[in-house]
Symmetry: C2
């Protein structure tokens, strides 16, 4: 079942764009790990936050991806930028009115 | 700029699956209105809620889609099912590590 992870990562003041750069960097093995979609963005009304919308082949694929070297390196690099505030949702995709 | 709308719609008790059915119904004109992605799902840990992850060609395309006959009919049908609780995020997509 396709798994969705959507939400917000708060950053320390002024560190948003640095986090965006880390998240946008191509990550070897990400697609092969089952990542179907990984959109990264911002909202000018929420200046110290980065938003993501991810789709994965399964919840297990998402969980396993956290052990990829490229993911672990990104997490290590991102951690000092984060405020600790997060929000979001995880859900099982049932379908789409476009399909 | 691609626009993302992600979040949760709370439903009255037991009305989740009825809302899912409305959201999943094919909607004439949705793709032509600029809808790139519209995933609908659930989370068994949050029983009275439906989750969506949408991508649109622009924020304006999303706004204009609310006037489509198919969208207006779905909103009218869905309103009695909703609890009024909503949560989510809107953001401008900057890119993806998959591209």
């Amino acid at each position: 079942m396709t798994f969705a992870n959507v939400g917000m990562l708060g950053t320390k003041p002024g560190r948003r764009d640095a986090l965006v750069a880390i998240l946008l960097r191509p990550k070897p093995g990400l697609r092969e790990a089952g990542c179907l979609l990984y959109e990264v963005g911002v909202n000018e009304d929420v200046p110290d936050a980065v938003f993501v919308s991810e789709l994965w082949e399964s919840a297990e694929a998402h969980q396993a991806s956290l052990q990829l070297d490229s993911t672990r390196a990104a997490i290590d690099e991102a951690m000092p930028l984060l405020s600790g505030e997060t929000a979001g949702h995880r859900f099982t995709v049932l379908g789409s009115p476009l399909r």
